[in-house]
């Protein structure tokens, strides 16, 4: 169920270049289950910025009713978010959208989790849930350069982790797809979140029997009412049929929508 709650900031710390991890506590956590769902965050009380910001849920902690978001300090909204200190509050709407179908993966099956930049955060909760179910988890995460790398150790708790950087300053030089080509394993499931060119390459590469991709689009409402975030479906790429990234997605099976 979607709720709106003024959550309390438990912690907000920088974990890599321009990357922050914020832990928020609130009853809204009770409704969070699926990795890949997102929250719509009001970063300031006043009129500017006016709209909420969509940020993926990176980790859910049911026991102490807290969840984590990880974001890149980028424009006005995320810069204001980076200034929040523990004890302050943030207005959160969520959980929104449909996440990765973690329950579809059977114990013993293999899942490759691919994250690019700020597409890495939702992979953390996903890896946690899959590993808990006895799924073999392989994470492939890509960044611009060494300073931007995060969550390598966190993901290593659930399985093998491969890191790439575009400039070669850490891990393997290149893109996540370079690793995928070499892995040699065909996974039962591939889950990916990151920049659109990366998602396209993964869709074309067919690295697993089933592939799920998490998309990004500029949003208004975040709940499916305003038609800001639509995309065409693959079966009708020029026609009237559509999916809303916010409420039908953000996670779609590869081949479902035009990316």
């Amino acid at each position: 169920m979607i709720t709106q709650e003024v959550c309390t900031v438990v912690s907000n710390r920088q974990i890599a270049d321009s990357i922050y991890a914020m832990v928020l506590s609130g009853n809204i956590t009770d409704a969070m289950d699926q990795p890949g769902q997102f929250v719509h965050v009001k970063v300031a009380d006043g009129l500017d910025p006016l709209l909420r910001r969509p940020i993926s849920i990176a980790s859910i902690n049911k026991e102490d009713r807290s969840f984590m978001i990880v974001y890149r300090k980028q424009g006005k909204g995320t810069s204001l978010l980076a200034e929040k200190q523990s004890g302050m509050t943030v207005d959160v709407l969520g959980p929104l959208g449909n996440g990765f179908p973690a329950a579809e993966v059977k114990p013993g099956q293999t899942a490759i989790l691919i994250g690019g930049g700020v597409g890495v955060p939702p992979m953390y909760e996903l890896a946690k849930q899959l590993a808990r179910n006895g799924v073999k988890v392989i994470s492939v995460i890509g960044f611009q350069s060494e300073g931007a790398v995060f969550f390598e150790q966190e993901l290593a708790r659930f399985g093998a982790v491969y890191v790439t950087t575009a400039d070669g300053t850490y891990g393997r030089k290149g893109f996540v797809t370079d690793i995928l080509g070499d892995l040699g394993t065909t996974a039962d499931f591939v889950f990916a979140c990151g920049p659109t060119p990366m998602l396209r390459a993964i869709e074309n590469g067919q690295y697993g029997a089933k592939t799920y991709l998490s998309l990004e689009e500029r949003m208004g409402c975040g709940i499916g009412a305003c038609f800001a975030c639509v995309c065409h479906t693959k079966e009708d790429p020029k026609g009237f049929s559509y999916k809303k990234v916010c409420s039908d997605g953000p996670v779609f099976q590869a081949g479902e929508v035009v990316i």
């Binding site: 009001k42 500017d48 006016l50 689009e217 500029r218 208004g220 499916g224 038609f227 639509v230």
Partner: protein, 313 residues
């Protein structure tokens, strides 16, 4: 009797607060958040004869205190709205105002004729002011003669009262308002969005794929207030006011300017519970202003005075 219940042509409302067209879809999403029967009415998304996909994305861009949108009238088309969306809304005790759009006069007439027959549609809102489509829309809303003729044609086929939604993208709003009143409009809704643009410094290109979009949100409120203040003094049909409403205080300001009801658009995205919140807060505010009923406030900003002496239509 509640201090909020109002009567307008075709509309017998529990309260004067309703979501604005395009900001509430056909109600399905918000029905997960609260009981839609709390609302005074619902202005549903624009409907055209055929389904429309709308414009490419990005379709929204933020501005300080507002947003630009260029959705491009995406909607499932007349048949689906009539046979699926409107019947679904019948489970709620709330009158529907159907927003009608098109590219040609025939489009408007066709949609109006059919939607006005839906049992829960109590009024039509003729959208002659959408800035985001290439043909029709705003062209009808900026030419008084076209606006008058279109209103007349739609009135002829409609089973329910017709409200005409005015565009602020004109130099003389009163002239258009009087033209549609003359064409037989039962009421006005105003304002639609103001045409605008934002450019991305990184790419040097407009942010919106459509390049231009409609500005809405708190930053347009003074424009809406001014236009309603002017128009309400020169027409005798009621006005449903909108443009940047965020609070019960804002609703009151629209009433004082000359509105008889109010619609909330963009703020539904910022605070999805804004409509029920405003409805909750209004009665106390009405009392504080020394009124027994909210309708006493309509036009209070100018009623004591003579007509605007300087205005020359």
């Amino acid at each position: 009797m509640s201090s909020l219940s109002i009567r307008l042509p075709g509309l017998n409302l529990k309260n004067p607060v309703m979501p604005a067209s395009g900001c509430f879809g056909f109600g399905r999403e918000f029905s997960q958040l609260y009981d839609l029967s709390l609302l005074g009415a619902i202005m549903v998304k624009a409907t055209t004869p055929e389904p429309r996909f709308g414009n490419p994305t990005p379709r929204v861009a933020e501005t300080p205190g507002g947003m630009l949108n260029a959705i491009g009238l995406q909607n499932p088309g007349l048949e689906k709205v009539y046979h699926e969306e409107l019947p679904w809304l019948e489970q709620f005790d709330v009158p529907i105002i159907a927003n009608i759009a098109g590219s040609t006069e025939d489009d408007y007439v066709k949609v109006a004729e059919q939607l006005s027959k839906a049992p829960n549609v109590h009024a039509l809102e003729l959208n002659i002011s959408c800035p985001n489509v290439k043909t029709g829309g705003i062209a009808f809303g900026t030419d008084p003669e076209m606006a008058r003729t279109l209103t007349k044609k739609v009135k002829e086929v409609s089973d329910v009262p017709v409200y005409v939604k005015l565009s602020p993208n004109v130099s003389d709003i009163v002239k258009i308002a009087k033209a549609v009143e003359d064409g037989g409009a039962d009421g006005l809704t105003m304002i639609n969005t103001l045409l605008g643009m934002r450019i991305d410094l990184m790419t040097g290109q407009p942010i919106l794929a459509n390049k231009t979009g409609g500005l809405s949100g708190p930053s347009v409120k003074p424009v809406a207030i001014r236009m309603i203040y002017e128009v309400s003094q020169y027409v005798s049909i009621p006005i449903i006011g909108m443009g940047g409403i965020q609070s019960a205080e804002d609703v009151i300001e629209f009433f004082l300017a000359g509105a008889s009801a109010a619609a909330v658009g963009t703020q539904n995205f910022v605070d999805p519970f804004v409509c029920p919140k405003i409805i909750d807060e209004l009665p106390e505010l009405v009392t504080r202003l020394g009124a027994d009923h909210i309708s006493e406030l309509t036009g209070r900003s100018w009623k004591k005075h003579e007509r605007l002496a300087y205005y020359r239509p």
